[in-house]
């Protein structure tokens, strides 16, 4: 198990290196730092001095890969690639355009992100699986058909609509909760409850339908017929057999997103003014703060790969046939 984990983490390194190279190419080779400086300082009136100053402040005034003017190892380390890209492997994300440490921002903003994302994920999981099991129980009846039709309808509505509509009805018409904002500790409840509810409703359609497909696939198998032949009730068949056997496909889709919960949701956080990583990213995109976007890309893929590894581990927990070697 430990050996397997180490191997998986080693496998992850080339992928992260690929992500790193890709973002480096996107941010520094497609457009030179000069282009970025010109963009940030305004296209029209910009002097070469101003560009140099901008680059110097942000440490972009170095060669991309190889610095001939330096000595020894500094030939490699005093470059943009080493300082801006390779350093991310040790989680050193540098500074944002307003001079704050990105690593510290990430650490403080993970909390609010999780306060929304984790409950949304957990409530959602129970709700979707429950709804899907209900549809499976009443499969091929009018109730099932209505459920599927509802899912397709809900899937076809833009995610923005749930947020805007929810804010309008709950906060503006009914005045139940504040429209946006955040507060630490127990006071945050009134701020997070609406984003969580909207987050859960927002993906009822696609998720429930996906779980229903999984359950329907399982229910056609031989062991289900055996279980029924033993005289088990349909409910017992569903919960004790179908749900257990459907765990592998469910885990494949679910576990991989758990680490990504830290990243929060871009839309929800920015609409509700939650000071999490999602709104941080959106603000960075709008302010064209490239170092923050780069850091978030790297962090995102790091968490995704962690999710893949977690998925493999979770298989061993639900399926005794799977052994990690």
């Amino acid at each position: 198990m430990i050996a397997y984990l180490i191997r998986r983490i080693l496998y992850a390194l080339p992928i992260l290196a690929g992500v790193n190279l890709l973002t480096f190419a996107l941010f520094f080779v497609v457009n030179t730092p000069d282009d970025m400086a010109r963009m940030q300082l305004g296209i029209k009136r910009v002097t070469p001095d101003a560009i140099e100053k901008w680059k110097q402040q942000r440490g972009y005034d170095k060669p991309l890969f190889f610095n001939k003017t330096e000595e020894g190892t500094h030939k490699i380390t005093a470059t943009i690639f080493w300082q801006k890209s390779a350093s991310m492997f040790v989680l050193d994300f540098g500074y944002s355009d307003d001079g704050r440490s990105i690593s510290r921002e990430i650490a403080t903003r993970m909390g609010p992100s999780l306060a929304i994302a984790l409950p949304t994920f957990l409530i959602g999981l129970v709700a979707y699986i429950g709804f899907a099991l209900l549809m499976t129980l009443f499969r091929a009846t009018a109730l099932d058909m209505a459920g599927v039709a509802l899912c397709v309808l809900l899937m076809s509505v833009s995610g923005l609509f749930y947020i805007i509509g929810g804010q309008f009805v709950v906060s503006k018409l009914w005045h139940l909760v504040p429209i946006s904002g955040y507060d630490g500790g127990i006071g945050s409840f009134k701020f997070v409850v609406l984003p969580i509810v909207i987050g859960v409703i927002g993906s009822v359609g696609s998720s429930s339908r996906w779980y229903r497909t999984i359950f329907l696939e399982e229910i056609g198998k031989d062991y289900v017929r055996t279980a029924r032949a033993k005289g088990l009730s349909e409910l017992a068949v569903l919960f004790r057999h179908v749900l257990k056997n459907a765990m592998i496909p469910i885990l494949t889709g679910v576990v991989v997103v758990i680490p990504l919960l830290f990243m929060g949701s871009l839309l929800t956080e920015s609409f509700f003014g939650i000071p999490g990583l999602g709104s941080y990213t959106i603000d960075a995109i709008n302010a064209q703060d490239f170092s923050v976007v780069r850091a978030m890309v790297f962090l995102g893929s790091l968490l995704y790969i962690a999710g893949l590894i977690l998925t493999d581990i979770s298989y061993t927990m639900v399926d005794p046939r799977v052994r990690l070697q």
Binding site: P14, I15, G18, V19, L22, T23, L26, F27, V30, N31, D35, M36, R38, M39, I43, V152, L153, M155, S156, V157, S158, G159, L160, F161, I164, Q167, F168, K172, E217, G220, L260, M263, L266, L267, T281, I282, I285, N286, Q288, F290, V293, R294, M296, V297, G300, S301, Y304, I305
Partner: protein, 455 residues
Amino acid sequence: MSFMPVMLWSDALVFLLLAASLTGAWYVRQREHLLLPWRRVAQSATAMVSLLVLALFVLVGLLDTLHYRVALPEKNGGETVYSPEVLSVFDKLVMPLRAQTEKTYSAPLAVTLYAKESTDDAHGRVLREYPRLRYGGAHLTDGSQRDGDVLWRGLTGTMWGLVAGLLIVMAGKRYLGKRGWPLRALLMATLVIAGILGMIVNLAAVYHVLGTDKVGQDVLYLSLKSIRTGLIIGTVTTLVTLPLALLLGIAAGYLRGWVDDVVQYIYTVLSSIPSVLLIAAAVLMMQVTIDTHPQWFDTSASRADLRLVFLCLILGVTSWTGLCRLLRGETLKLRELEYIQAAQAFGVSSFRILTRHIVPNVMHIVLISLVMDFSGLVLAEAVLSYVGVGVDPSMISFGTMINGARLEMGREPMVWWALAAAFGFMLVLVLAANLFADVVRDAFDPRLASSTKSE
């Protein structure tokens, strides 16, 4: 010539796509075994009604794709000068909608502006009142006649629409009677759509059916123009995903070895980056390139258009990995089957095996994944435009409409019609696409076909 045809990049890609789908349709028509699943699609009432709705959207989108620039009256030394404004045939058709802009917000079917303004009356006194609109309901002498007029025009419009619909239905029934299509559903849908269209057309002639936005543009016009953007995002993206996924997926699955390793590495790297972030990063960089090279574009439309094409490209690059993985898996399975091994034993070249035996047998996966992805892409456009990494702000799209209207949420009383229009049009488009995609999947997926038989 009084106008100059303009071919924007996205137009060219749309025509390419159109040509490709027509060729595909012609190819399928020749072959009975390929036609069979389509027959199954054609028998489904849901699919045909959704297709009818989609066809209307596509018609609007295609008309909106034929662009031209009008010649200006003044000449520059004998040389005709063309207006910098790029129009489309669709703009020409709905010219009144486009040209009749009000001063600012007005509610749907309103005859006055949405906010009070100070005006001087004949005696020099200052009055605070809702000023009448320049065009909306301008034929009425008194604003209070509006309700009756709207009702009357709505009813007559519906009647005319129904009459026209009935004519189409009668003609359609004679020609389509023997095809085994769900005629009743189709005819009912035609009637309903014709009635609604008749009502809207009759009302839109003298009112702003969905109101006007902040700068007084007709919201119905904006919504109709957004259709093209949505359709392009949903379809042109496949021009990128398809070759990448097909080529790399099949190569990886068939050749295995180092090719497989490389392809797997590439798609793992790409799919490990959360897609919104990758798109955001790529779009930010594209923006820098576009902004630092203003000399590339002769009109603002061509700049917005190139940005749209790039957005499709980026969406394609970020979304081919899923299809590629599916195709790789399917090819791995296929290459072990007897008929492929027989072909190999006969000495058929790898290229011929791929084109004759592998590609046709994975096409159903390609097709299913394309129709399933379409609606997601249309929805993604709105989200990306909200995040600020979508289409150009000057390009009319559902995303920019929502973005513009969102800021008005705080107004009292609320300006809701632009939001409602954008969400409504999107819902109809995406719902039709989703329903159609479901039927296509059921018809083409051999796994589903066999599982329904065994039960």
